[in-house]
């Protein structure tokens, strides 16, 4: 399999995952999206192993290592700070503002989030931040180690 074919498959899997997520919300099936996500990741790893060209070597592994380390160093501080704040809310005295009661339904007809849903959304936002950090650091180190350089050849 060519490298570009793999990238096309990767894009298709991501689109499919987004579609399955919305479909799971519509049909109210909480197991569908996680199961599809795990299968999607497995399919991507399988497809990656079928790429004939060399896409991975010691320099790309160094870029991945550096980007992962920096992401971890920043992310754990953010993760800890957010959860520390949430712990203060949870352990706070009565009257402390906390999402323990269901809020009144909004006027625009949207459904209010349940507490577990709110927790999931916060986790997803943090995960999104982690991905953004990783992409940012990866771009930085890829540039540092000459990933986008070109020459006369």
């Amino acid at each position: 399999m060519k490298r570009n074919t793999f990238y096309i498959i990767l894009g298709l899997v991501i689109l499919l995952e987004v579609g399955i997520f919305w479909w799971a919300v519509e049909i109210k099936n909480a197991l569908l999206a996680p199961a599809a996500f795990i299968l999607g990741v497995a399919a991507i790893y399988l497809a990656r192993g079928m790429v004939e060209e060399i896409i991975d070597d010691e320099r790309t592994r160094l870029i991945t290592q550096q980007a992962s380390l920096r992401t971890f160093q920043v992310f754990w501080v953010v993760f800890f700070a957010v959860n520390l704040g949430m712990a203060v809310i949870a352990l706070g005295p009565p009257g402390f503002p906390r999402p323990s009661q269901q809020p009144p339904p909004p006027a625009d007809g949207l459904r209010p989030f349940h507490l577990v849903g709110l927790y999931a959304i916060i986790q997803l936002v943090l995960l999104g931040l982690m991905i953004l950090l990783y992409v940012g650091f990866r771009i930085y180190y890829a540039r540092k180690y000459g990933d986008w350089d070109s020459d006369e050849e």
Binding site: I54, E58, R59, T60, G146, D147, D149, D151
Partner: protein
């Protein structure tokens, strides 16, 4: 660290792609080494030197950093 990979590649009339394939790395890695943006591992450095049938010191040159008084 400086290197003469580009010089030896030209002597052996190899493209970056051909050298990369022979060494099992990506073309971008050869380019990054030639441009001095990436210092290869000791193993890869030895493999590069062995590929050109020269000693490692002939391809890779270590320079002491200048001490600022």
């Amino acid at each position: 660290m400086k290197n003469k990979v580009k010089v030896y590649r030209a002597i052996h009339d190899l493209t970056q792609e051909q050298l990369a394939d022979a060494l099992g790395v990506t073309r971008q890695t050869i380019l990054a080494i030639e441009k001095g943006k990436y210092d290869p591992s000791l193993e890869l450095a030895f493999r590069i030197a062995r590929h050109f049938r020269v000693s490692i010191e002939e391809v890779f040159l270590w320079e002491e950093p200048l001490e600022v008084p």
